[in-house]
């Protein structure tokens, strides 16, 4: 393919960052990241079917600090992608598409994702301390 010398249309870098576009990109990124989590879920299921040795290998991997880091990131990605997905469903219904509403719903989505992630890890954090 020959390189065209014609001017390009304005691309991402000419726009100032807004919450809505950041969340849109984050939705895709968390989607890709969660796909790997889905594969990890199947690996855990397969390890259960393969017996206690395979299961404890998977269990040890996920409770290793790096494994826990992944689980924590997957938790946040899941809650974000879930809440932002609901935001998309509301948009599909033709609601909440205004500039101000779309921004504030974005902040609600982020707040939910952070709070739900912390709430999910609270029992484990309490267990680790006590």
């Amino acid at each position: 393919m020959s390189v065209s010398q014609r001017p390009l249309s304005p691309h991402l870098q000419v726009y100032s960052w807004h919450l809505t576009m950041a969340l849109s990109i984050l939705h895709r990124m968390t989607g890709v990241f969660l796909s790997f989590g889905a594969v990890a879920l199947v690996i855990v299921l397969a390890s259960m079917a393969s017996g206690s040795n395979a299961y404890s290998f998977a269990h040890d991997a996920l409770t290793h600090p790096i494994g826990l880091l992944f689980l924590f990131a997957w938790t946040f990605a899941l809650y974000f992608h879930m809440a932002n997905g609901v935001r998309h469903l509301v948009w599909d219904a033709g609601l909440g598409l205004g500039k101000k509403v779309a921004s504030s719903s974005g902040w609600y989505v982020l707040a939910f994702a952070v709070l739900a992630t912390l709430a999910s890890w609270l029992p484990m954090a309490i267990g680790a301390v006590s």
Partner: protein, 123 residues
Amino acid sequence: MRLRTPLSNAKGLGSAGEGAHHWWMQRLSSLALLPLTLWLAISIVLFPEMDYVSAVAWMQTPVAAIGMSLLVISLFYHVQLGLQVIIEDYVGGALKIASLIALNFTCIIMVFIGLYSIIKVSF
């Protein structure tokens, strides 16, 4: 001026011949995943023990076995639909076809491994 034939207009399937099927299936699978992933997250958070015996005992309950099966199916359907769009956006040429084939095969294989494992553990 309308360029579409009355028949294609009535079918409403657009130039790709499949209409909003992909879009609609993505929404439907997301709707199914909403309760299923919440259920899994809550189950894991509230699950007191993660050792092999407790995990197997949990998986042998009908709710866990059926819920996990539904989750695996709708999850990989959603993954397939979502990653397909991303590949179509960013990958071109022969690599695009190869990636799409790999994606479809991987998702189907994952569903079968998941379902086989759930059934094997629960019986």
